[in-house]
Symmetry: C2
């Protein structure tokens, strides 16, 4: 993309309404614009990152054998009366009356609707196991929406639901979700720690939250620093193998890691003092096993191998897709702006032309641009007639991980500059070598997500 | 995908509530399930086609230089009061009150919101031309939702908005949209005819609807059969060229083609009688140029080259994304089920194992499956332990354009059967040759969309 043809309305001033850094940077970088309290439009740059995050979530869910589908945003109140949650849910549920006076609501979650789909179509244990998921907009009418997309009212969420014959099968689904979530966050450049959590209004006995450490987080967490050394990396996982999945879960849940809701001071004290950590953190996902809580009242039963009708064992599993943009920025920025991990960056590489209108500089930029595009990458070429300082400031603010700077002086020596946004380090290279290096960076396994 | 691991709840009986063939087939093929009147869940198969259609729309919009973004589903009523449409829109607008008693609505369209984004961020003619678009869920509270996804209440729509300095520039944007829409529909295997239309509540002087001929269409249309011979094919288009775009528009709008709202019997009579056609048709898109209708009242102005503040010229342009599934099926089916065009098919090729459990047949199917996946295709392997008749019926119903049938008898002679869903014709080929043929079909330009 050429910047002169793009819509990137960066702000010079720091917006006063934003209290946390991710909200400020998303507004300043022209990623979002508030449409109403807690409701945002996703401007082109923000939309690109949102789509990248969405794609990683899809890829990892599909890899785990889960099946994508889509439920509507609006639902009839009837199903929620059947489960008993219509009255329980409280004021966060946005209740709507249609022109015929029927009670409806904007789905804050979808256990009822998916259970209805299941019971309408599945009748035998032979159709199990089954995990369906979607990425869809949700609405929760927060009394005080704040922190930009971190606690908005309309938000994009991945929600998945497993249906299994036995508790054991459902616990395998639970483990499969934990592993797929760990991979998902890793690909986004995030370290998200699974922590034993409270089940809240969804109910259920087993539940973990995934938390990203950040000063501005709303949760207080306690953990053993040993967990920071764990990584899945390129480990291949057979999601059908109960042993493999449960071994990874064991590995990640053995070190102490809890939110203040489940914190156990006595257990925490047993960790060697040097590894005890207390921090703020942002919740970016949660998994639940809740057994037959919905299947029993809603009659989601299958015929088992012995011919008996049994309610299925279920779990639900969520990732806060739109919230992740905020969490990633909270975890990855500096005074000059955002620093995108390669996996989610909106453009793979920036190109800065230091002397727009200079024939040689223009031609070199065009060649670099074309070479990156030919390699399947998506560069952002700042082709505006602007001073270098302004171009650098914009590029730093929007946080592309790599930048190629092209100017007449360097070109005289046959070189351009390749700069890492994260380290700030620059290298002088031939234009061809700079392109080759950028292509190589994104060819690394696990870093192709931005494509 | 292996069918035993998928969720494809096909129905044996024809659902009684469905009045038209696309609605019946979408229910029977397990593509959708009604969640409330005019509101549907997209089951996995339906969701796949929806995503394919979405991707084609994105690709063609980006090719035309239009920039993707995303607006929220819920909006504040304030902006609609500013434009005067809050009171005008009537009961089809779903009005909502949040917990603080603020008036909100579920966007039926987004002229107000996009104009607000524009006026907040753009101040100079140098930032023009600009076309922003989104694919987002909309809601219209139809009094009698019917025909499945063809006239639902919650529906997925692409809506795009152009902002230009002059009427001439805006008319180029109008033409660009017409050309990009023609390409979009062609890639989906649809013949959509642009017809001069009425502007309705959006307003404006220039507007065309795109209509797909189908007996069950809600529109009555009159046209010159000569228009059926037009095709863009592989023609490359420079969207920046006013001449190229307006030439294509001239070509497509010269033959008489109008809906009953704009029909002119006298003009129609001038067409040679043998080419006069009257038919039913389904509207699948509409483009508008409406000048300064929104920019003037809402103050969307830019500084022109002469320093004067002028309101921008705008247009809006829509494609009914979810409705397109219905339209494609109306235009492409037979008594046995759906016939997907290659561009949108949910799976590229079906594989039927005539004797599940037979070692040779199983192994051959696995090899074919693996070869198609390795070629980047997405096959559906019916690996159920079912009679051949049931497998054929399911495969015909869900409409994959190509099917490879594998059985012990054929394998003895070294052959499998490759069958076209559209023509019904079969050929006996070696497994390798069958795979090669399928890969070749999807490698044709313009037919890679399903990938």
């Amino acid at each position: 993309m050429r910047l002169t043809r793009y819509f990137l309305p960066v702000l010079k001033e720091t917006p006063s309404e934003a209290q946390i850094v991710s909200h400020r940077l998303m507004l300043r970088a022209g990623m979002i614009k508030q449409a109403a309290a807690g409701i945002y439009s996703w401007l082109p740059l923000g939309y690109k990152v949102l789509r990248n995050i969405e794609r990683i979530v899809h890829e990892e869910q599909i890899r785990a054998g889960h099946i994508p589908m889509l439920m509507p945003t609006l639902q009839s109140a009837e199903l929620w009366r059947e489960s008993g949650r219509y009255d329980d849910y409280g004021e966060e549920m946005l209740r709507i009356t249609d022109r015929h006076g029927r009670d409806m609501l904007y789905g804050p979650t979808n256990e009822e609707l998916i259970t209805d789909i299941f019971r309408s179509h599945v009748g035998s244990y032979r159709d199990l196991p089954l995990t369906l998921y979607q990425i869809q907009w949700k609405f929760r009418d927060e009394i005080r929406p704040r922190f930009g997309v971190m606690r908005g009212r309309e938000f994009l969420m991945k929600d998945g639901y497993n249906f299994d014959l036995t508790k054991d099968d459902a616990l395998h689904a639970y483990n499969r979700h934990m592993v797929s979530y760990l991979r998902t966050y890793e690909r986004m450049g995030l370290r998200a720690i699974p922590m034993r959590a409270d089940s809240g209004p969804i109910g259920g006995e087993n539940t973990h939250e995934f938390l990203v450490l950040a000063e501005t987080g709303e949760s207080e967490v306690f953990y053993d620093a040993a967990i920071l050394n764990l990584t899945l990396g390129e480990r291949s996982v057979d999601y059908d193998s109960r042993e493999e999945c449960s071994e990874i879960v064991r590995e990640w849940t053995s070190p102490y890691a809890r939110t203040d809701e489940t914190h156990d001071a006595a257990l925490f004290e047993r960790i060697p003092e040097a590894r005890r950590r207390q921090s703020r953190a942002i919740e970016v996902g949660q998994i639940f096993y809740f057994g037959t809580k919905y299947s029993e009242p809603m009659g989601a039963v299958v015929q088992g191998p012995d011919g008996q009708q049994v309610p299925v064992h279920m779990g639900s599993h969520g990732i806060g897709v739109s919230r992740l943009l905020g969490a990633i920025i909270e975890a990855s920025h500096d005074d000059n702006g955002i620093i995108w991990p390669e996996g989610v960056t909106p453009f793979h590489c920036g190109i800065i032309n230091l002397r727009q209108g200079d024939a040689e500089a223009d031609a070199a930029c065009e060649r670099i641009y074309a070479a990156l595009v030919a390699a399947g990458l998506d560069p952002l070429y700042d082709d505006r007639d602007e001073r270098a300082g302004g171009k650098f400031a914009t590029m730093d603010l929007i946080g592309l991980p790599w930048r190629i700077t092209v100017g007449p002086r360097g070109l005289k020596n046959g070189v351009v500059e390749l700069t890492s946004r994260r380290s700030g380090e620059s290298e002088e290279l031939s234009p061809e070598e700079a392109v080759r290096r950028v292509v190589e960076i994104y060819a690394r396994p696990g870093e192709q997500a931005g494509r």
